[in-house]
């Protein structure tokens, strides 16, 4: 067909912290780069995030957590996706995350982790490549 459809991504905040300034900035920055961004608001359980990502058939998920609960919450989202047969959707995470936790999260299967001060351009690029990865996987089928 004519132009390719925009990439659809989901931005979510698992856990209880209400600091959504970063998540909303990324949502808007992605929109301004042509993404369709489903924003699910604050205080979402890992299961709710996984279920929403599947219904919306997004190509990537971005998680933000600033309360220090990332080691429990981010892998919980991966687990919820796998249980629903959607383990291939790449999950990117952001927040106040110490170096040793970054390694642990990447080892657990997170696609990428961003910390305060990462330029938006880097984050957008990572989303784009994550979306394209999953799309190529689709094409090969």
């Amino acid at each position: 067909m004519t132009t390719p459809a925009p990439h659809r991504v989901l931005i979510a905040k698992p856990g209880l912290d209400g600091h959504d300034r970063g998540a909303k900035f990324i949502a808007r920055a992605l929109r301004d780069q042509g993404f369709e961004v489903i924003y699910t608001g604050i205080r979402r359980s890992p299961e709710e995030i996984a279920a929403a990502a599947i219904q919306e058939d997004v190509a990537a998920i971005g998680l933000s957590s600033l309360s220090g609960a990332h080691l429990r919450l981010f892998p919980a989202v991966l687990k919820a996706l796998k249980e629903r047969g959607a383990g291939e959707i790449p999950v990117l995470g952001g927040g106040v995350i110490p170096d040793e936790d970054i390694e642990e999260l990447l080892a657990a299967g997170l696609h990428a982790i961003f910390t305060p001060g990462t330029p938006a351009e880097t984050i957008i690029k990572a989303f784009r490549s994550a979306c394209e990865t999953i799309q190529h996987a689709d094409d090969e089928d």
Binding site: M1, A5, P6, R31, G34, E36, R44, I54, Q55, D57
Partner: protein, 308 residues
């Protein structure tokens, strides 16, 4: 994935497959035509499509939350299409309507799909109509289509819906004035939300006057008072929807509306599908004649080519 496999999983109501099938239809993907062909002609027969419009802040999302809860208590499977505008500059969109329906995120019988308007030339129906039929095929008894504001996409939604509900609340005087000219005339039910606030009485009076003729014709009051935040008035609203729907079925109004809707959707698709060919014919040919005359010439040439 092969289309047969995808459709098999879709028929088994696998949420992942439902999501993927909707994407194929929304994006006009390679499997789109095969999927639509497999849906069947009678797919919409037992599904009711409700359009929900109204200005932001009138409580539309809270109201749709109430409707979903109510319908779920009756055991109905519900589909929701939440539409937000795309940025005309980047083509992207932030789709935030899901937030207020996240309470149902873990209910397998509530399927929510956010859609960006994507500035479609042929109108929103072209994609949304297909998604409505996919949701119906996925077993949804009722499908809610939500939009914000009073623009062109709302008029498109009215065409797609069997019944259109407009939510208003006290303090939206300017919006009402703006709507009177257009959307209000095609609205089936007016929901006067936040009926516990001052100003509600005046709003209801004004709306009742606007709807008086229609209400008197079939005895169904078109204005319903609710306090969605306290779940008040929802029973009445559901009764009113049912009465109106029954009435429309008996009088053949629903069938007529659906027929019209399908016709205009078909037209939208024709234009959409012809677009690339016409564009190819137009592009790069600078001729010193008026565009309108040039278009007539192109169509004539095209008809001539096809006859040969």
């Amino acid at each position: 994935m092969k289309t047969e496999d995808l459709l098999a999983r879709f028929k088994a109501r696998d949420p992942r497959a439902i999501g993927q099938v909707i994407s194929q239809v929304e994006n006009n993907g390679p499997q789109c035509s095969a999927i639509l062909a497999a849906l069947g002609a009678d797919v919409m027969d037992s599904t009711l499509v409700l359009g929900l419009t109204g200005p932001p802040g009138a409580g539309k999302s809270t109201l749709s939350g109430c409707l979903i809860r109510h319908l779920r208590e009756q055991g109905q499977r519900v589909g929701i299409i939440a539409i937000d505008p795309s940025s005309p500059i980047s083509g992207g969109a932030v789709l935030g309507d899901r937030i207020r329906i996240m309470d149902h995120a873990l209910d397998p019988d509530v399927i929510v799909r956010s859609m960006a308007s994507r500035g479609r030339l042929g109108g929103l129906c072209a994609a949304a109509g297909g998604v409505v039929r996919v949701l119906a095929a996925a077993g949804c008894d009722v499908i809610l289509i939500e939009t914000v504001g009073v623009g062109q996409s709302e008029m498109d939604i009215v065409r797609l819906a069997d019944l259109t509900l407009m939510t208003l609340a006290p303090g939206f005087g300017d919006d009402i004035q703006a709507m009177k000219a257009g959307l209000l005339e095609v609205t089936d039910l007016l929901v006067a939300n936040k009926a516990d606030l001052p100003g509600s009485e005046a709003l209801c009076l004004e709306m009742s006057a606007t709807f008086r003729d229609r209400s008197q014709r079939d005895g169904i009051d078109r204005v319903v008072r609710t306090v969605a935040s306290q779940n008040q008035g929802i029973d009445t609203l559901m009764d009113r929807i049912e009465a109106l729907n029954t009435n429309h079925l008996e009088q053949g109004i629903r069938t007529a509306r659906r027929q019209l809707s399908l016709e205009s959707e078909t037209l939208d698709w024709c234009l959409e599908l012809l677009r690339p060919q016409l564009l190819a014919a137009i592009r790069g040919q600078h001729q010193p004649i008026d565009p309108r005359l040039r278009a007539e010439q192109l169509i004539a040439d095209r008809n001539h080519d096809q006859r040969q």
